[in-house]
């Protein structure tokens, strides 16, 4: 049985990413047994939620994202900050809706693994490139950093070293490898990780297009295969419903796996209280 370690990095801005991480941790504890969760953050964690985490770790070497609205410049530090030899890394705006033990078993085959296949809420593979034009145009590996895995290894260490370099000099790297600001005018972890993978020529070692999972449901509005576009907010088209037993339905579809809700206002008191009630948190 593989060790089931989860890591998230959260930095609040106008949005409360720490609260998102707490909700994600509640979802992990609801569906997965014998897990360890690490939160990397400099922001305070509400005392009632501290028990959700086995480790709460400061972001090392200062805050490189201090002047950013979208704080991602510290993400490369995850490799160095974790107290684990291996971990799954997920975005904070995710819910883990099922036992994913078998995913961890699968990930033992890799030193570094990125999901490269994500799904709509209806369970269809997303082919739409609306949000990743640079990937197609510049032949970047189609990876998603929202769910990835690494074990402490030479490969992962070198990869994260490249990620540090790319993140700190993203304008230059994006210009050379991803079409520059025409395609991506802010630093993106997906683009940065894809560039690192391309430079290292390790695409075949870190993604596997032949497997359905590990993966996640990606709720960005424009990639749901809808004929009609209404807004960036997917809840304007389909409603979320969380039942008493914490089964999540989006529109007519029961959700399983990992749900990447993307819209911050998905998190509300009703959802938080439902998980708190289930876990006996007060």
């Amino acid at each position: 049985m593989a060790t089931k370690n989860f890591t998230m990095l959260a930095q609040n801005n106008n949005n409360n990413y720490v609260l998102q991480a707490c909700l994600a941790a509640m979802s992990i504890h609801t569906t997965n047994k014998d897990v360890s969760i690490c939160l990397i953050s400099n922001d305070p964690v509400p005392s009632k939620y501290k028990m959700l985490f086995d480790h709460i770790v400061d972001i090392p070497w200062g805050d490189h994202a201090e002047h950013e609205d979208w704080k991602i410049s510290n993400r490369w530090k995850i490799y160095h900050a974790i107290p684990y030899n291996e971990t799954v890394v997920i975005d904070t705006d995710m819910l883990v809706l099922q036992d994913i033990s078998v995913w961890f078993d699968f990930l033992q085959n890799y030193d570094l693994f990125y999901t490269s296949k994500v799904y709509t809420y209806r369970g269809d593979i997303i082919y739409d490139e609306t949000y990743r034009k640079a990937f197609h145009k510049f032949d970047l590996p189609n990876l998603y950093s929202g769910f990835h895995y690494f074990k402490k290894s030479d490969l992962a260490h070198e990869f994260y070293t490249w990620l540090e370099m790319i993140t700190n000099n993203w304008q230059q790297f994006y210009k050379a490898h991803a079409g520059g600001k025409i395609y991506q005018n802010v630093c993106s972890m997906d683009v940065s990780a894809a560039i690192a993978a391309k430079i290292m020529n390790i695409e075949n070692k870190i993604i596997n297009p032949n497997v359905k999972y590990p993966s996640f449901t990606h709720m960005k509005s424009r990639i749901q295969d809808w004929e009609t576009y209404v807004s960036e907010r997917w809840q304007d088209r389909v409603e979320p419903y969380l039942s008493n037993d914490l089964t999540l339905k989006i529109g007519n579809f029961t959700q399983t796996g990992i749900f990447h809700y993307t819209e911050k206002d998905f998190v509300n008191d009703e959802i938080i209280h439902a998980y708190e009630k289930h876990l006996g948190i007060s």
């Binding site: 209806r122 369970g123 269809d124 749901q224 809808w226 004929e227 009609t228 088209r237 389909v238 339905k249 529109g251 007519n252 579809f253 029961t254 399983t256």
Partner: protein
């Protein structure tokens, strides 16, 4: 295990579905060598001798108006009496049944392979227009945000406890159709078997993608009601297919050896009548 085909035929003020069913039954006998039973509220005339069994119902009242096109320039608003499909399980005299629309034209025996499949419920999800239309959104999903579209045009089922539950579920959806219309986000208030079956399949799959319904053998070829069936000669059909965005302009298409769903029922009846 008894095998056969079940047809539902409820005439309206203009279209004779029993006549269509009789024509289809003769083709089923010819190409598939299967018996056909008909469910109807019409006294089936002696001239319609193709049926293995006539299951006569009391007059079925259903107000379900829809526009029937006959090519691009003619249409009529008629009563769409599409009731009964949900009772297939209860009414079929066979333990293994293929249910068909009466406007389905059998030209080969490929559907016989359904009987040798281990799947207890089969229908078409994929489909191809006989002409140029590659993708018609309304045949992909029942609404933009909702579930996949399954065709109720042709169904195969065995009489199993699970299928009993399934058909009871379709009945429930039909009885509460306006509720399911709201929940599944489609606008049209007219009852559609395709929609009720699509919703039921989705529920049987646990509100996810699943394999409760597997794909029937063969291709699900169709012509729209703005296309015009011109002739049927044995297994060769000639159809005028309306050109895309060219109202009233047609392309002649000849199809050989393929089963086809002819949605223009006026033209089908003209061909059956030999006009």
């Amino acid at each position: 295990m008894s095998k056969g085909v079940l047809l539902f035929a409820f005439n309206n003020e203009s279209l004779n579905y029993v006549k269509q069913a009789n024509y289809l039954a003769s083709r089923i006998k010819k190409y598939m060598n299967l018996p056909t039973s008909i469910v109807t509220d019409t006294d089936v005339e002696k001239e319609y001798a193709s049926f293995d069994e006539v299951i006569k119902l009391d007059s079925v009242s259903m107000q379900n108006r829809r526009k029937y096109n006959d090519g691009s320039f003619h249409n009529r608003l008629l009563n769409f009496r599409n009731s009964g499909r949900e009772t297939s399980y209860d009414l079929s005299p066979y333990s293994e049944t293929i249910v068909m629309d009466t406007d389905f034209i059998i030209c080969n025996d490929k559907l016989l392979n359904a009987f040798s499949s281990s799947s207890d419920f089969q229908c078409y999800k994929s489909s191809s227009h006989v002409g140029h239309k590659n993708s018609i959104p309304e045949f992909n999903r029942i609404s933009d945000t909702s579930v996949e579209f399954y065709w109720a045009t042709v169904l195969f089922f065995r009489k199993t406890p699970i299928n009993k539950i399934f058909f009871d579920l379709v009945k429930h959806i039909k009885e509460n159709y306006m509720h399911y219309r709201n929940v599944y986000q489609f606008k049209n208030t007219m009852y559609r078997n395709d929609f009720a079956f699509s919703i039921a399949i989705h529920i049987m799959n646990g509100f996810q993608k699943g394999d409760f319904a597997t794909e029937l053998p063969g291709n699900n070829l169709f012509s729209l009601d703005k296309d015009v069936l011109v002739d049927i000669n044995e297994d060769v059909l000639q159809i005028l297919v309306e050109k895309e965005n060219r109202l009233g302009e047609y392309t002649g298409v000849k199809v050989s050896g393929s089963n086809i769903h002819i949605m223009n029922k006026f033209s089908l009846e003209r061909v059956i009548d030999g006009n």
